[in-house]
């Protein structure tokens, strides 16, 4: 049963095609890694999934619902930068995950206290309780990304989108972030799309790895054609790359 359904998706900026003919079905709870060359449109694909922009053609449905017209509660996002609110303390950033949907964007009285307690529990679990009252700018990159993921999860989205979330972290921090993410996923069973430039990371974390690339190439005008999904790997068995090729893929002709 397809949970996220992408049909015949095109995105063009001006007259420059970025993404063309993307079709993909994702089951609920799947972890999708997305890899591809820089500038081939991975972030664009995430923005389309998020409904931050609308596609030129085609549509994306989540759980069969009408295509979304703007970002909303059902899809959470973690960017590489600027993912947490710099003017709020670490604790308030987590509380915001629940309180922003309220009329004034904050809780009052007992509700506020309860939300603070829940936030403190979350912070204790992700190892940020000792900096609960600090501002994000005082945190290391890894801590900020942990905070960003926890904040996104506090809103309980059905689909989590991650755009190179660990791109700026050192290898050690990266590994602990992998454990962190895998724990959270085992707990929530959420559908995840993660863009990364690290193949190892893509195969380790993902159930499937989608490769974005240009299937057609005009040597005189490289920007003439857009990218699409050229490979769709099954990456479930222990994260060892290159096992089973899924069916219905567009294998590119050799150049």
């Amino acid at each position: 049963m397809s949970f996220v359904t992408v049909r015949d998706l095109f995105q063009t900026y001006g007259n420059r095609p970025i993404i063309e003919r993307v079709n993909v079905d994702v089951a609920e709870g799947e972890f999708i890694s997305i890899v591809g060359a820089s500038g081939c449109g991975k972030s664009t694909f995430l923005r389309l999934l998020l409904a931050q922009e609308r596609p030129t053609r085609g549509e994306i449905r989540i759980d069969g619902a009408e295509p979304a017209r703007e970002p909303g509660l059902d899809r959470g996002i973690v960017f590489q930068r600027y993912s947490v609110f710099p003017h709020m303390t670490v604790r308030d950033n987590i509380v915001a995950g629940e309180s922003f949907r309220a009329g004034w964007g904050r809780f009052f009285g007992d509700a506020a206290k309860a939300a603070r307690d829940r936030a403190d529990q979350t912070l204790a679990r992700i190892g940020l309780d000792h900096v609960a009252d600090n501002y994000p700018a005082t945190l290391s990159g890894g801590m900020q990304q942990r905070l960003a993921i926890a904040q996104a999860l506090a809103a309980k989205p059905r689909v989590l989108l991650l755009d190179e979330p660990f791109g700026a972290l050192d290898p050690g921090t990266r590994l602990s972030m992998h454990d962190f993410l895998q724990d959270l996923r085992a707990e929530t069973g959420m559908t995840v799309f993660m863009v990364t430039h690290d193949l190892e990371e893509a195969f380790k974390l993902g159930d499937r790895v989608l490769v974005f690339d240009k299937p057609r190439w005009d040597p005189h005008d490289p920007s003439r054609y857009g990218a699409t999904i050229t490979y769709d790997f099954d990456a479930r068995d222990g994260g060892i790359p290159f096992q089973t090729l899924k069916e219905n893929i567009h294998v590119p002709e050799p150049h």
Binding site: I77, Y82, G97, F100, A102, W104, G105, Y135, A152
Partner: protein, 270 residues
């Protein structure tokens, strides 16, 4: 060692800070001395001692007729006008800055309009203000508002517009409405910028205040300066000028302190 790498120690830094002040004082004292030796009744550069005496007299002695110490009444009248004008500018500027910066519809509606308005020289409007609002307090406050509001709106709308798109998207994925984004994301993020904009507006605000007071008032720092100009009372003028400078500096310092105190997350260079 390169000049850009030479940093003063604390003692030298303090000395360098005080040096220009001392230089101006000495230059004035010398100039005044030269003129007074040539002509003891010269009024242009009164001796520092004379200015000091006048200062004491102005600050402590009441008016012969009414017994009021005019210096403080002048100060109070001017500060009221200034604060009122700045407060109106800041609050209206904040609201419109957020509206224009956050909502594309508002941007289309108002951004160009404000850009054109900000080109009107406020002092050219002063006669109109006097005609429309009379010679009382209102026209002076309105002049300050007219003079500072367009800048504050433009600055704040620009700052609001520059809030990283990621943060606005993020707030939406947490279920925030436009209203919540405005008050919980945009408003706190531009508050330090508002303080900054007010600091930059204080200079023009004083200018417009003194201009308005010089033309039509019966109390106020600017009024007094232009009144005693007729008697060439340089000692009084200098006292008032120094006092205005101190007030302006104190306000600037207070605003900077408030920005650091209430918005510690905003690293401000200024």
């Amino acid at each position: 060692m390169r000049l850009i790498n030479i940093k003063p120690g604390p003692a030298l830094a303090l000395f360098l800070v005080l040096l220009p002040f001392a230089a101006v004082l000495v230059a004035y004292a010398v100039g005044s001395d030269i003129r007074l030796t040539a002509n003891p009744s010269d009024k242009l550069l009164p001796a520092p001692g004379t200015v000091g005496d006048t200062m004491m007299r102005l600050l402590t002695e009441g008016d012969r007729r009414t017994g009021r110490i005019l210096f403080w009444y002048d100060t109070w009248a001017s500060l009221q006008r200034l604060w009122l004008g700045i407060a109106i500018s800041a609050s209206v500027g904040l609201v419109f800055g957020l509206l224009i910066g956050l909502f594309p519809l508002m941007r289309s509606l108002l951004a160009q309009f404000v850009a054109v308005l900000s080109m009107i020289p406020p002092l050219a409007l002063l006669p109109i203000l006097f005609i429309v609002f009379g010679l009382g307090e209102l026209s002076k406050v309105v002049l300050i508002v007219v003079g500072t509001l367009p800048f504050i709106i433009r600055d704040l709308s620009q700052r609001t517009y520059e809030i990283p798109q990621e943060l606005l998207v993020k707030a939406q994925t947490l279920g925030a409405s436009s209203w919540v984004i405005a008050i919980r994301v945009a408003l706190p993020q531009v508050m330090p910028r508002l303080i900054q904009a007010v600091r930059l507006s204080l200079g023009p605000a004083w200018l417009f205040l003194i201009a308005a007071e010089a033309i039509a008032a019966d109390l106020g720092l600017g009024y007094r300066i232009f009144l005693v100009r007729r008697y060439l009372a340089m000692d009084v003028i200098l006292t008032y000028v120094i006092w205005i400078t101190i007030l302006a500096f104190a306000m600037d310092w207070l605003l900077r302190w408030a920005s650091r105190r209430f918005y510690p997350w905003a690293e401000e260079g200024l």
